[in-house]
Structure formats: C-alpha cells, structure tokens
Subunit: 396 residues, 2 copies
C-alpha cells in the first residue's frame, strides 16, 4: 500500500461550500479562528455573579451576606456594575458583569431578605465561569488542512461564524468493467452473459469514501479498445478502477493495458490476501490505478482495503474516518494458511452480552454471500487458523 | 430508549430510486429475485469442461485422454455439444456446455497432441462449477423490508437486473434552537450573544443517520412563541429536536412546551448519562421529540445516543449500521460515579501495536473539546472508574 501511495500525488482542486453542507468533506486549508470563543466571560451555572473574595470563609453556619443589584439579561450587554459586597443574578450561558470574577451556584445560596442573598459556600476566582478564549483564542488553528469534517467540526466552525469553507473537490474515480460476457444491469442477460456487479459495489465504496464515481462503461476484452478507454478515463479523472474478468487470459490483457498507461505502471501484481490474489496496484500520472479481481466478493474486499485509503490520500486527508473495525468472538473454528491474510464474510450476533461473528461461507463468486454478511473477519498473516470463542477483528 | 421507541410509529412514505442511488437508504419492502443467479452453470476456473466420470481414476501416471471439441465463447450461448470422452476449453465465468458436469483446472491437464488433452487428476461431479441458482434462486427473498442498503446490496440487486428500488423517504427532522442569547452563525454575535452550534451538530448527525434536517430557526424564550413554533414543526415533520438553553428556567419552559404537544408527552426527564443529564425524551403524534441539553458536547453525545436510533426506528430499519464502536486501551486513570454512564471525549493513537484512547478534558461547554477528539470513551453504569491500560469501548 505504501508503494502505491508514494506514487500518488494529492493534487485535487478545491471549492467553496456552505459549512453545514461540507459534512464528510476534507478541508483544503488550515482554518484559523477569527475571534475568541467565548467572546465574553460566561456563567456555566445558574447562580449569582460576585467577587470570589466576598465569599471566602462563608459556610452554612456563617454565611456571607451580599446585596443583590440586579439580573443579567440573556443575549444583551450587561448594564449592571457589581461592586464589593454585591452580587447579580446570572443564568447559565449569561455574561459575567464587570467587577465580578466567579459565580456561586444557586444551590449554595439562600434568600433571607429581599435584595440580599446569603452565600453558604465559598467559591474560587474563576469558578463556574468560562473565560474569554477558553475554548479557542483568536488566531488559533482550529482545524488543520486535510481535516475530514464531522458533525462536531461543522458545529465548531459555526460557533466562530465561519459559514463558508474551502474543501477539496471530490476525487473523480473512473470505473471500467471489462469482459465479453458482462452486460449493464438494466439489460437482459442472455445465455452466457452476466450483469455488471462490481462497478456498482465500487460505486458505493467510492461514494462512502468521499469520491465521485464516474462510470466509463463495459469494454470488450480487446487490447486496443481497453487501452483507448483506460487512457482517456485516466486523463479525465483522478483515479482508475478496472474490474476485469477472472480468467488468466483476461488478467494478462488487463495487466498489459495497465502497464501501458505510464510510469511507474504496475507496482504490485498479486497480493497475499484471500480472496483477492489477482489484484493489481498501479500508478500513472500521479494517479492510483486498481485492477480488481473479477469475483464480486474479492472485488469488494480488495476495493475496501486498497481503494479507500488511496482516495483519502488523494484528498490529503489527515484524519480519515476510522471505519468499522470491531472485536467479536468467533462462532466456529476457522482454518487459514500462514503467510496470507484471509478475510471471511460474517454475520454478527449478540449472545450472552458478547458480540459473536458467525462466518458466512460461500464461493467468492457469490455476491449474496456479502449481502447476508455484516462484515468480514480478518485472519492475520501469521495465523494458521483461529479457534471458536477467540476474539477476532471484524471490518464492517 | 425502549420507552421512547414504543411510542414512535414507523409510518414514513416511500419513493422509487435508481438502485445505485439508493446507497445508505432503507428498502421499503422485501425484495425477491425475479430470476436465478447464476442463470446458467458457470466455470469458476480456467480449464476444460467434461463429464466428471471420464476423469475418474486419472493420475499423472495414468492420465485420461479426452478429445477436444472446441472452446466456449464468453458472453454467448454455447453451440458445442460435448459427448463422452470429449472436453471443451472453458474460461472462468464461462458457460458449461450441455453434456458436461465438471471443469478440470488447466493446471491438472497436459496437451500432448493437437485436438487431445490428458487429464492427470480426477474431478467430482460439479467441481469448479457454479450451479444455476447457487447464489440466489428465482423467487428467493434477497433483502427484507427495512434493509439498510450497503454497497454489496446495491451490487447484488444489479446482478438480478433490479435497477429501481422502493425506499423509505428520509425522515424529516425539525431542528429548533431556543435562547434569547442565540444568534444564527452568519450573524455577528454582540455582547452576551452566542452563535447557534447545536442545530448544526444535530444537522450533521441527522444527515449521517439517513434523515433530512429541517431548520426551523431560533425561537425566543417565550412560552407562546415556542409552543406555536414546535407545534407547527411537529405537524410538518417526522421528528422534533429542541436545543434549549441550560439554565433551569429555560429548561422548565422547554419541558412545559414539549408536554403541551400531545400524548404521551414527556417519557423521560433526565438521563443517567454524563454529560447530558437534563435530556428530555418525549413523543407525540407517534413522532419522537428530543430536548437536548444546551452545552454543545452534551447535545452532541445525547443526540448521537438517542436521536440516531429513533431515526432508524422511524425508517423501520432492520439492520442499522453498526457505527463506530471500537476497543482501545485507556491512556490514563479515569474516575466515574457508579450508577451513571459517563462519556469522555478522547483522541485515539496507535502505540506498540495497540490502540490507545487519550481522554481530552474540557468542560462540556467547549465545542472544541469534541473537535480535537476522535470519539468518546464509554464508562459503564456499574464502574466507579477505570485504570490506565484497561480496555475501554470508544464510540466514534
């Protein structure tokens, strides 16, 4: 994977979006705060703003008596000035008036006479107060370039009044299917023909990874046709995925075509992953090229493992979403070959408070194996099998 | 939560979409297969189609000799008939010709003379062949009603030629902010004023959970105004989220307003979750209503815990995405109070092959606590604290 990313240049264009529509996009540049947050000292509790010093030594037996000089209105400037021995009512989120430096919670006070409160517990300077800039100071970098924008990031930017943001354009991913037997899904499949599956599982993975799928059709198993189609697809897009047939002759054709697309060409031919051995990882023009196995289960697992990180890299993403790995207990023994990573589709079930992964067996030609699965169990390279009841990593 | 879901009626309308645009939507009805998949017997290996019986007893020392009668073309009907003692070249994914019942891998054959092959290993009936309907039979239910459509589901439907699908309409979630001090993010915040954050973190969570956020503005802290706004928001939408201030008086106002919206009204007032105690869970007209705490960190955590499952329930979703729980080791001791679930924002880091969760401390008034975090550590109800190095669950 590192070999591939080394040859991929993150060089996408940028665009400006309304911040709340930039969810799950990638910030094109670092964002700095134009102002402090909070912009004024705020109460974090309902109570009374006062000088902390006036409460020192106060207790239930010996309360401090303070004169009530008013109430802080919400959402407006405070007109009240609070002097020594005085206090003002303040609500959570309200502004702390000049002259005060702490808030005593209403629970730690009593009203004995109109216009006077008794404080029964001392507060420290700054207690129950958010200081100016305690969340963010003016000029602070609030997001680095390449930050994947999550709901809390969108909220944080709104708090600072940043309602537009420059984001990286979605990488355009050309998806080409090959195979004399492959027909589009909306056409009847005649004898010997199958409908295109892989273009659409890849389409979904590209969308989920922040990319824009560009369907370039189904190309016959012919060197000239496939070369021409891949060449123009690569020029017009930011990445190229080829879903080839699984026969040796077609794989050879695909690999010759990919190797003709430019330097450095094919980087890895065949990966130690089951299912998915005949995978091709390549790069040309600084763009990633992925040759997928023809079997739908292999194609999906390989695209998830290699295409997704390549797209994050293209976008320059510094905090890619940590998608769906979870731990579950294996519901039956699984064999594996050491020296190879195995991925086994699995259903997840809660039993006795634990999460169990029940392998779903099926040839990698069977797409509905994946439809019935919640994720895939990973069997590490160095394991020769895993016993029932052991904990495994499951990728959703 | 169960108390809330009991009063929420999943009664959304449906709409028809192109299947590949239905990613991350919910199927409105069960989908049955119009045809068998595969529709014809297919080879899973490159090799020769033959009658298995003709290979019985074959070995390197005593090969079976078969007459080659042709090659199966990809994507077209087979014109060849294969008789006893005969074989035909077949590629992976190719159709098995009439008269044959197995495929011998090319690796287990030799070509000695033109027009003849030697089989050096016996194959069983059905070996290296996908039978008609082995993936799906005609009439099989391939997806249940309420199924959340993932990339593999979209691919599977395309394989069956199902290029349009009926999905549940996105639930419309009315988002109302309240507070005399709250101003829209695109306006300057004057003294004592703050910009609306929670409407936008909720917006992001709603989008991610398959809903459609509908912003209903910022309402003053006034019973009549808030009652009128919530009443019409509830009629026009499928769910209602109120992000209120945190002061006791405003919380009381919110709860009186929510209780006036219809039966059963408030179900839960205050949850044993920190941060987020002043949460209100309610229902009216069969729709969920959520009163969020004012603090942005609490609001986000509570919306994630309660709004997301409510939306899945509204959509009738049977396989809601298992989002982002992962296991990590706690990077420092954390205290907690037994009898309460605590959620602590945390950064994740890989160290020595393990994933570590480093708590990010900050008052729940500080939105940038969450911006700097990858997720939140859950401290279970019955724990009075967790020691450094222990494994914890982190929600992304």
């Amino acid at each position: 994977m590192a070999a591939l990313l080394k040859h991929v240049r993150p060089a996408l264009q940028t665009e400006s979006l309304k911040t709340h529509l930039a969810l799950d996009r990638v910030a094109a540049a670092a964002v700095r705060s134009p102002s402090a947050l909070p912009a004024f000292p705020r109460a974090t509790m309902d109570g009374y703003a006062l000088r902390a010093m006036d409460s020192f030594g106060a207790s239930a037996g010996l309360p401090a008596y303070l004169t009530l000089v008013g109430e802080v209105p919400m959402g407006r400037a405070v007109q009240i000035t609070v002097g020594p021995g005085e206090a003002a009512i303040v609500h959570t989120g309200g502004m702390i008036p000049d002259g005060t430096d702490a808030v005593v919670m209403i629970e730690n006070t009593q009203v004995s006479r109109e216009g006077e409160i008794e404080v029964v517990k001392a507060v420290a300077v700054g207690e129950n107060v958010l200081k100016i800039g305690e969340d963010v100071r003016a000029g602070d970098q609030v997001l680095p370039a390449g930050h994947w924008l999550r709901p809390q990031d969108v909220g944080g930017l709104q708090a600072l009044g940043i309602t537009e943001i420059q984001v990286v354009k979605r990488p355009r991913v050309a998806i080409l299917a090959t195979g004399d037997e492959v027909v589009p899904p909306d056409q009847p499949a005649g004898p010997g023909q199958v409908r295109d599956i892989n273009s659409y599982t890849v389409d979904g993975l590209v969308r989920r990874s922040g990319g824009e799928p560009v369907h370039c059709g189904i190309i016959r198993d012919n060197f000239e046709a496939l070369s021409a189609a891949t060449r123009s697809a690569l020029i017009e897009n930011d990445a190229l995925v080829l879903s080839a047939g699984s026969s040796v002759s077609v794989r050879d054709l695909t690999s010759r075509v990919i190797d003709g697309l430019g330097e450095p060409g094919i980087l890895v031919h065949g990966v130690a992953v089951k299912p998915g051995k005949p995978t091709i990882l390549a790069a040309a023009q600084g763009k990633p090229i992925l040759g997928l196995p023809g079997n739908p289960v292999s194609a999906m697992i390989i695209a998830d493992l290699f295409l997704t990180p390549a797209l994050y890299h293209l976008m320059g993403c510094t905090n890619p979403p940590r998608r769906g790995w979870l731990r579950a207990r294996l519901a039956r023994n699984l064999d594996s070959e050491a020296g190879r990573e195995d991925y086994v589709p699995a259903r997840l079930e809660e039993r006795d408070g634990d999460l169990w992964a029940e392998p779903v067996f099926g040839k990698s030609n069977l797409i509905f194996t994946l439809v019935h699965a919640h994720g895939v169990i990973k069997i590490p390279m160095n394991a020769s099998g895993i016993a029932e009841g052991e904990w495994v990593d499951v990728r959703l």
